[in-house]
Every structure is written in C-alpha cells, then in structure tokens.
C-alpha cells in the first residue's frame, strides 16, 4: 500500500504538537529497523543540516540616510569594500571580499585573516563596524563622504542573500603534483599527501532530496541560526544523476540561493572563515526540513553514507587547468572513516564541513518543528531537477 501525505496534513500535526520529526541520521536507523513503508507512515518530517564554508554568500545592507543626503558610490565596512552600485544607501557585502590593504598572495601563501564573511559575523555579533563611504555629489544627494560606526540594530535592513549555498555534493580534493597547493579545499600536500572533502554526507540537505521533490522556491529553512527561505536555485545549479557501475550517484549537483533577515541570525552559525593561500569566506549553517509525503521521498532521505559518493579530483593540475574527469568515486562512509585509497595509495582524509555542527543544525530544526513554531512551506515553484538535464557553460574566448 502506498502512502500519500500532504503539506496541509503535516502542518496540522505540527500545530497540535503531534508531528513526528526525526533527523536524517535517525531516519536511517528507523528505516533499517522498520522498513520504508512503516517509516513513511510514522514519520512526518526529516531534518537535515550542514555547516561549511560557502563562498557565494553576502548581505544586502541599507544603512539609512545621512544628513545632508548622500548617494553612496563606494562603500567600505571595516575596510572591506561592499558593492554600492545600487540605490543611495544600499550596498551588497560579499563574503569573499578582502580589505583593500590586504597583502593577498604577495607573500605566498597569504593568510586572509579578515574579509567580508568576518564583517558579516561581526555585524551579527552586534559589534560596531566602521562604515566609510564616498560619493561624487548630486543636487539631491550633495554629501560626498561619511565615516562613522554602525551596528546591525541601527541600520534599516540587513538581508542575507546567498546566491549559491548548500552544494548537493562536492569533490574530494587531492593533489597529484610534486608541490603543496593551497586551495579553497584547504592545504593539499604533494603526491596524494592528504584528501579533503566538504559535505555532511547523510545529513546534507540536497543529498537527501536529489530530485528536488520537496525543496523548491519558498521552502522555509534554518539559515544562519534563524529562519530563512529558498529564494531560487543557486548559481551553478547542475543537478545530475550519474550511473557508475550500477550505482546512482549525485554529481556536484544542485545548489540553492537562500535569503533571510540577518538581524535574527547568530554569529555561531555565520562564521568568518580563512583559507591559507586562497582567501576569506563565510561558513553558513543551513538546515532543511523534508516532509515524508511518500515512500519515494523517504527512500532518498534515508540514503546512507555508504550509498552517497563524492568524485575524487586532482586540485594540483586537473582542477586549475579545467581538465574534465576525476580519479574515481569514494563513499562518504569511506571519507568519514579517515582513510581512502587513491591510485593504490592509502591517504588520510579530513572534512572541511563540521559533522558535530551539522547534527546540531538538524537537531535544532527538529526542535523548532516539534515545538510547533516552524511550519513547512510547499514550494511555490519547483527547482530544475536532474531530469531537466541542465548543461554547464564555460566562457568562450574569441
């Protein structure tokens, strides 16, 4: 007998405190014990979680007007430039932006101790941040410069809007060359000296809904410690399913654009992050609830680390030169065991994505739903799925 549930039915149960909510890890155990059908019948919502560096993040800030008025043309926050090519006192602060006086990689590898992500964390931590802006002056906006301190509570709006977050899956990075490389996947020692990976595997939101059956535009989520929403698909959203040796593998896959009010988020879940020799970024905590509407959704949500695979990619030569292909696939169970074998060599693995934090996200979201103050939203528009076969373009130079 097949089970069909609706968002309305599940929300009615959440409101009365009767909804059964489990984390993705708990669902795996439940499905193993009771089977797919019984688990789908019993459980209403599965919570997922991830906490990892997500470079395509940033915040729209609207500072309020100066007296006299000013059309801010260039804006800096704690010395980090924000994009001000929008209306008068609005700016977009990107997580990967660096201070203008940063030595960058001139003394290689650069440390990148502070950047846009750190400014966002400072703002959310309610620390005063130095605002500097210049302008050319107009009749309606005569002022040409301002330098003052602002806080998150004093500015009008602060909207976290991250164009590409929550990567469905990601490469396991290694280095085949003879020199150490410093990448956004961390420091990679020469000749397969180590391997880094960055998803929470069986807790990772988009790995648990690879066909985008429930996650779509408008889905209400845990974002940065507060409530946020899926705004659209993320940039570089290329959901795909690859069949390798009879196994269904998600590729690098789908991404999400997410949005939420920065003022209700927390510095614990938006953390300024630095990669030696690479740059600065922001680590973001994201949790997405998946309603178990039918057994098919449950089957994907219950996928285990053993069933989820990451491609192994050489970041010494193949990745920078944009050479397609990989060195094979490895399961998240193997990655999390601490050792994998690549080209016959056993190498140590390290995560860049925090499992303890991912668990905390999933547990927190579960608690919110159980308490009845977090209802599920049915997507107002579906996101492109593997069936849509989106093909990635690269820049053609003529």
């Amino acid at each position: 007998m097949s089970i069909e549930k609706t968002y309305a039915e599940i929300n009615a149960k959440i409101k009365t405190g009767k909804a059964v909510v489990v984390t993705a890890e708990e669902l795996i155990a439940l499905v193993e014990e009771k089977g797919l059908t019984e688990a789908t019948r019993e459980v209403d919502v599965v919570t997922t979680g991830t906490f990892a560096p997500m470079c395509s993040s940033g915040a729209f800030l609207s500072f309020g007007h100066t007296k006299p008025r000013m059309k801010m043309q260039k804006v800096w926050l704690n010395g980090v430039a924000a994009y001000a090519g929008i209306a008068a006192v609005d700016a977009y602060l990107g997580a990967a932006e660096l201070p203008e006086d940063d030595p960058l990689n001139n003394n290689f590898p650069g440390e990148f101790r502070y950047g846009g992500g750190h400014v966002i964390q400072d703002l959310v931590a309610r620390k005063p941040v130095k605002l500097k802006a210049i302008a050319y002056g107009t009749n309606c906006y005569p002022r040409k410069s301002v330098e003052t301190m602002i806080t998150l509570d004093e500015i009008n709006e602060a909207i976290l809007f991250n164009p590409r977050n929550a990567y469905q899956n990601y490469n396991c990075a290694v280095n085949l060359t003879d020199r150490t490389v410093y990448t956004y996947m961390g420091m990679l020692k020469p000749q397969l000296g180590n391997a880094n990976y960055s998803t929470s595997g069986e807790l990772s939101p988009l790995l648990k809904d690879p066909h985008f059956k429930t996650i779509g535009v408008g889905t209400k989520i845990f974002l940065g410690g507060g409530v946020g929403y899926v705004a659209w698909n993320g940039t570089q959203h290329f959901p795909a399913m690859t069949n390798v040796d009879g196994k269904e593998l998600g590729g690098a896959g789908g991404t999400l654009a997410v949005i939420g009010d920065l003022k209700q988020m927390s510095p614990k879940w938006l953390v300024g992050t630095s990669f030696l020799g690479y740059g600065a970024t922001l680590s973001v905590g994201i949790g997405i609830p998946i309603p178990l509407l039918n057994e098919e959704i449950t089957r994907y949500a219950a996928m285990k680390d053993e069933d989820l695979f990451a491609p192994i990619v050489d970041y010494g030569e193949a990745y920078p030169s944009f050479t397609p292909g990989n060195l094979g696939y490895v399961s998240y169970a193997e990655l999390k065991s601490g050792k994998i074998t690549v080209q016959g060599k056993e190498i140590q693995t390290s995560p860049l994505s925090s499992m303890p934090r991912a668990r905390e996200v999933a547990a927190t979201l579960k608690e919110w739903i159980q308490k009845g103050d977090f209802l599920l939203t049915e997507p107002v528009k579906s996101l492109p799925s593997p069936a849509d076969g989106i093909v990635a373009h690269s820049i053609k130079e003529v």
């Binding site: 906490f51 300024g272 030696l276 925090s354």
Partner: protein, 133 residues
C-alpha cells in the same frame, strides 16, 4: 621518569652556543630534539624532551643564559569558542595531536602530542588555534 616537554626560545647570541651539548655533558640529561628552528634573524625556537635527575638544574642554567623556557602545554591553545570542529586541521597535524573521534566526528586536541609546529594556527579556517606565550 616521564620526560619534560619544553619550548626554548632564544636570541641570535644564543643560537651560536652549544646549549644542548651542555645539557647532556654538564647535567647528564637525556635530550630528544623534537623540533628546532632558526629564523633569518638567527632567533631560535627548540622543542625538547628532557629526562634526568638534574633537569631542573639544567633548565636553570638555560634561563641564566637568557633562554626563555616554557612548558610545552603553554604553546598552542585551542580557542573552544572559535573551533567549529570541522576537522580541516586533522589531516595536516604532523603528530596527530589534532584528531577526529569516531563516530561522533568531534575534533579533539591532545596537548601532550603537540610539538608546536604552529601549522594549525595558519591552517585552521576559523583561526581557532592560538599561540599563547
């Protein structure tokens, strides 16, 4: 007897002196040099394991020369508030002092294994590993 693990820091005037020889010859100490660096300014840092009855006397001798002698545990400290337990440090820590406990995937720091190479202070994406002198 368990060895004492210490960090020595000294200026260019000491770098040219055979201080380890003196520890062995004059104080009858068993010395294991865990790590030694001399920077371009000829200032030195050395991590030693020292065993012997006269170890305190030996260390007093070093201090008299102007060598800063510190317990190794004072070297690298994990800022627990900053650490998010991602694990990025664990594959690079040369002695396994930073390691992941399974299946919890929590990151632990065993100070006794730390040799103060300070790689983690630059590698940690949250800059949670700090040098306390």
């Amino acid at each position: 007897m368990a060895p004492k693990r210490i960090v020595l820091r000294f200026g260019s005037d000491i770098s040219v002196k055979p201080i380890v020889y003196r520890l062995v010859k004059d104080f009858d100490l068993v010395v294991n040099i865990v790590r030694a660096d001399v920077n371009p300014q000829k200032e030195g840092t050395m991590v030693l394991e020292v065993t012997g009855d006269q170890s305190e006397k030996g260390l007093a001798y070093l201090r008299e020369l102007g060598v800063s002698v510190q317990d190794l545990k004072q070297g690298i400290v994990r800022n627990e508030e900053k650490c998010v337990m991602c694990g990025a440090c664990t594959g690079l820590c040369p002695t396994g002092a930073l390691y992941i406990e399974r299946p919890s995937m929590e990151v632990h720091f065993d100070e006794d294994q730390c040799i103060v190479c300070m790689l983690c202070t630059k590698i940690c994406p949250m800059r949670a590993m700090e040098v306390h002198l």
